[in-house]
């Protein structure tokens, strides 16, 4: 495929244009939703109901009597509520709390331990207690301020260490073993112990969360910003205790998600649904930014400890890895996050003997949840930094050392599955070396530091992977994704799937897959934001599965439709997920193929640390990515550039701290995400490696770009300062302390 060997635009290069382009699938097409978004015509949740313009396009009925909702939230990290004193309410104003939940007051997620509304005990600052619902927001604010809650403080835990000290704080714990680590440690000539820590992260999608709920004809309908319409639907079914046919979920144009709208929307949707039911009127709940930061889920903070056994020649005999994640107050998706971080614990390396112990601990911090990478970024920061450290210890160049330990095709994964595809890390590393000048620079910067002269510069490299799709047999046993393609009378085709576009482009990509398979132009293929009344459950929009899994179902259905095209003026074809025959997975023992396919990456990051202020300035970023094949090069480029920026933000800017469970950085002034001035553009190359079960060879691409940037930055900073970096974020404050440490 023509992309091989040629750098993509970035870092000042001319944008592709006027070059010879093949008509390959990857050639970019204008995204069909882009013009409406750019012009302001696209309606996000908070833009509804529109005063002008066609309501019919949204399918939204008139919202007569629309009520607003404000949330009363806990101000204590752990307490028993003794009394909630509500002032006299004016007409048309209601309280909605746990007593108004007709079904089960638990938000259905991987673990169902979080209530829609706190009952007796509150477990984090920001936990919702009740909704105040009424027609006037100013009035609601005044009433909200007048509500008094009497608490009896209980005994909260905030840090991993505090939680570790408690007997009952373990939310989930797993172990996995490969080979014979005990024997490896018995043979060890030396044991290296290191600890790595990473901080929480806020998604900071530009569109805050929000929902509208209403009753119509004995049913509940919710409209909202979300990634997973069917997750929301099941949560409503549980919370209402109703039959699924009485519940309808419609995704509105969603302004970013990154995992932050994977589970939290289920809670908001339930709340507006109960409110709509109680009041008999449509209810609108939109979080303001400060509230969104203070109340919604965050990336799991981590503490990862290595004990690595080395032989007399500094070769790795085995590793014992302990992963601790902060689950916050409720479990939510934590078990799956932990699994992924454990499956990533040895990175891209063939470590023959390993034991990984993982735990998620409950604290009284904000509940943690899904965030791009889903446990892998934490694990890769740790393993990449640890391997870098082992290399230096052995007197070897880090990239050479890492490549020497890399896995290869046919070898076993950490769970005893097999890497079935070619692993192109060596070629990809060579490409990144060439683009970045890594070899020359790393020598130059080491020497300069040794002489004690010149600017404080460093360049670091990372090797990483991302398992695509849901873990293990989740696709087959839990999700059971299904897609329908409909031939319309006018010859157009509609895709019916539950994939939510939150900016990552399924609107374009799925239509492209269908169009290409059918031999149509894009304009003949329709795909609307999902409405559960109309679309089957193709699964959640998570885990880098949309192109690879759902796209494949679209491709298969399109093939079938094409073959039977002339048999009737209207047709419908559905396809359900079939696990590729080679996948073997034991969920109890964590043995076998945790993922059907892997995407791979190499990053280099060059940094200069300011000697006066210790501010790290990223001077260059380079990458090589194997995502199978690109369905659309611009979409892939967008994921890469966006993922890298977001990861560099996590690694160096985005400080999220809490005192007594209260966030210190609770608005966009204080929670620092990158601006257009903060980081240079990545230069990258894609490596073709088609996956036979992906549409046109595509694998997953949404999360991979996030995984590699932080460890590469950390390695660069380590070189610049001559000190190991073991914690994220890498702030100037932290670097000042690091620089002052005696080596």
């Amino acid at each position: 495929m023509r992309l091989r060997g040629r750098p993509q635009a970035g870092g000042g290069e001319k944008a592709p244009g006027g070059e010879e382009r093949t008509a390959g699938t990857g050639a970019p097409l204008p995204r069909p939703d882009a013009a409406d978004k750019a012009s302001g015509r696209a309606l996000f949740l908070a833009d509804l109901p529109p005063l002008e313009g066609p309501l019919a396009r949204t399918g939204l009925p008139p919202l007569e009597g629309l009520l607003h909702a404000l949330t009363l939230r806990s101000t204590r990290p752990k307490a028993r509520m003794l009394e909630v004193r509500i002032p006299p309410l004016p007409p048309e104003t209601w309280i909605v709390d746990h007593r108004d939940v007709p079904g089960r007051n638990r938000v259905k997620m991987t673990c169902d331990d979080q209530p829609f509304f706190a009952e007796e005990v509150v477990r984090y600052v920001g936990e919702p207690i009740l909704l105040l619902v009424g027609p006037d927001r100013g009035e609601l604010r005044r009433i909200l301020e007048a509500i008094e809650v009497r608490y009896e403080n209980l005994d909260p835990a905030f840090s991993l260490e505090e939680a570790e000290a408690r007997a009952d704080s373990c939310l989930v714990s797993y172990q996995l073993t490969r080979g014979d680590p005990a024997a490896a440690f018995r043979r060890a000539a030396a044991v290296v112990e290191e600890e790595y820590r990473t901080g929480a992260q806020e998604h900071a999608y530009l569109e805050p969360q929000g929902f509208i709920g209403l009753t119509e004809g004995g049913r509940i309908t919710v409209y909202g910003s979300m990634q997973c319409p069917y997750f929301v639907k099941s949560a409503l079914v549980e919370g209402l205790g109703w039959a699924p046919e009485r519940v309808r979920v419609v995704q509105t144009v969603t302004g970013g998600g990154f995992g932050g709208k994977e589970d939290y929307p289920s809670l908001l949707a339930g709340q507006v649904a109960f409110a709509a039911l109680k009041t008999g009127r449509p209810v609108r709940l939109v979080l303001d930014r400060g509230e969104d930061i203070r109340a919604t889920t965050k990336r799991h903070p981590s503490r990862i400890r290595f004990r690595t056994a080395l032989d007399g020649r500094q070769e790795i005999l085995g590793m014992e890895i302990e992963i601790l994640l902060d689950g916050g107050a409720y479990s939510g998706l934590s078990p799956v996050v932990l699994q992924r971080s454990m499956f990533s614990a040895t990175g891209v390396y063939a470590i023959p003997n390993a034991r990984v112990e993982g735990k998620v601990l409950a604290t009284n911090n904000l509940p943690t949840g899904a965030f791009r990478g889903f446990g892998a970024p934490q694990a890769f920061f740790a393993i990449e930094s640890h391997m870098h450290s082992l290399a230096l210890r052995a007197g070897r160049e880090p990239l050479e050392f890492k490549l020497a330990h890399r896995v290869k095709r046919g070898e076993a994964t950490i769970t005893g599955g097999t890497f079935r595809q070619e692993v192109k890390l060596a070629e990809m590393a060579a490409a990144v070396e060439e683009m970045s000048g890594y070899r020359r620079k790393t020598r130059e910067y080491e020497e300069a530091r040794g002489r004690g002269s010149g600017p404080w510069r460093g360049i670091g490299i990372s090797l990483f992977s991302h398992g695509c799709g849901f873990t293990g047999s989740g696709e087959r046993d839990l999700i059971k994704g299904r897609v329908t393609l409909r031939k319309l009378r006018d010859g157009r085709v509609e895709i019916l799937a539950a994939s939510a576009d939150m900016g990552q482009g399924p609107q374009a990509a799925l239509r492209k897959i269908a169009a290409r398979t059918l031999g149509f132009g894009l304009e003949r293929v329709l795909f609307d934001n999902p409405d559960t009344d109309r679309v089957p459950d193709s699964g959640p929009t998570v885990a880098s599965r949309t192109a690879m899994i759902v796209g494949r179902l679209v491709q298969q259905a399109a093939k079938e439709l094409k073959a039977s095209w002339d048999t009737a003026p209207e047709l419908e074809v559905s396809r359900s997920y079939e696990q590729p025959g080679f996948v073997r997975w034991d969920q109890q023992a964590f043995k076998g193929d945790a993922y059907p396919a892997f995407a791979w990456g190499v990053n280099a990051v060059e940094v200069e640390v300011d000697p006066l202020t210790f501010e790290p300035k990223v001077r260059g970023v380079w990458g090589a990515y194997d995502i199978g094949e690109a369905i659309d090069e611009k979409i892939i480029q967008g994921q890469i550039e966006g993922g890298v920026a977001q990861a560099l933000g996590w690694a160096s800017l985005e400080v999220l701290e809490a005192r007594e469970g209260r966030l210190l950085q609770a608005n966009l002034t204080d929670y620092i995400i990158p601006t257009s001035m903060d980081f240079p553009r990545i230069q990258f190359r894609l490596f073709s490696n088609p996956y036979e079960y992906g549409p046109f060879g595509a694998k997953g691409a949404g999360e991979l770009p996030f995984v590699g940037a932080a460890p590469a930055l950390a390695a660069a900073v380590s070189q610049a300062l001559g000190r190991p970096v073991r914690r994220l974020p890498i702030t100037p404050e932290a670097l000042m302390e690091l620089a002052a440490d005696e080596a």
Partner: protein, 288 residues
């Protein structure tokens, strides 16, 4: 209750202010955030708003004798575009907030909001700026150092308006300015430092140093500057430790959501040291 007043002249504004204690509102970039009530709900000020953004008497910008008058209601963008505004002030303005905020925010607003992290203040203190306060009873002109007493507190009376800043002629156009923000743009200062020095015939004729965001108000101490004024350049190196120690005692930063006291204190002094060494071009300090 009247929600706002729209005076057509400074006189009228002063009259309303003295009668009602109305709150001066220029760009609104601080007040509209401090008093916000969320989407769809009007901001809630404790007193009526007094709209002063368009009063021409507060937007004068030009020479007055040897001083430069900067009207309090001049926006930061206007100051950035004006040829008479000194480069050292423009350096600070250019790193404030964002282009959109600079189109609304005013010099007077930044001063009267009196945040310890206000970006115009280190320059104004270093320049020895005066502030002109107007009321119906007349005008008083004070050094800016007397205006701001504590974070968010000024001695502006309830019947007064800040009309202008008067900048004396600067001794030099050369300056050393560093703001360390939370990111490269659109950021509040963790700390900042401005140094001005005028050198001729191998001697320091004039020296000004001001630190922002490292104490309740800007740190400037003419007595410490005087240690170097008049000295030959060759003598400066020997005096650097004493100067650092002197400022070290005056800089009292805090731990907050943006940074910590130790970092702010250490880096502020490193910036000062860099500035001083730059005067006699000493070699680079060593590595960690």
């Amino acid at each position: 209750m009247v929600g706002f007043y729209r005076p057509r002249s400074l006189e009228e504004a002063l009259s309303i202010r003295s009668q009602t204690g109305a709150i001066p509102l220029a760009g609104g970039t601080d007040l509209m955030v401090q008093h916000r009530m969320g989407a769809g709900v009007p901001a809630s000020f404790p007193a009526p708003a007094l709209l002063i953004a368009r009063l021409e008497e507060l937007r004068l910008l030009g020479r007055e004798g040897s001083d430069l008058r900067l009207g309090a209601a001049c926006t930061l963008a206007e100051l950035l575009e004006h040829p008479l505004v000194p480069g050292a002030l423009k350096a600070a303005l250019a790193e404030m907030a964002s282009p959109a905020v600079r189109n609304l925010a005013t010099l007077g607003g930044n001063i009267c909001n009196a945040s310890p992290a206000a970006d115009t203040l280190p320059f104004l203190y270093a320049a020895g700026a005066l502030v002109e306060l107007r009321s119906l009873s007349g005008k008083r002109t004070l050094p800016i150092t007397e205006l701001i007493t504590a974070p968010g507190r000024t001695i502006l009376r309830d019947d007064e308006l800040l009309a202008a800043v008067l900048l004396p002629e600067l001794p030099t156009s050369a300056f050393f300015y560093r703001k360390v923000g939370t990111r490269r743009a659109n950021a509040l200062a963790k700390l900042s430092f401005l140094g001005l020095a005028s050198i001729s015939a191998g001697r320091i004729r004039e020296l000004r140093c001001a630190f922002g965001a490292v104490a309740p108000t800007v740190v400037r101490r003419p007595q410490l500057e005087a240690v170097l004024i008049g000295k030959r350049l060759a003598e400066v190196e020997g005096l650097v430790p004493k100067i650092l120690q002197g400022y070290g005692a005056l800089i009292r930063p805090i731990d907050d959501q943006r940074s910590n006291a130790r970092y702010r204190h250490t880096v502020a002094l490193r910036l000062l040291e860099r500035f001083l060494r730059g005067l006699f071009r000493a070699p680079e300090e060593g590595r960690p």
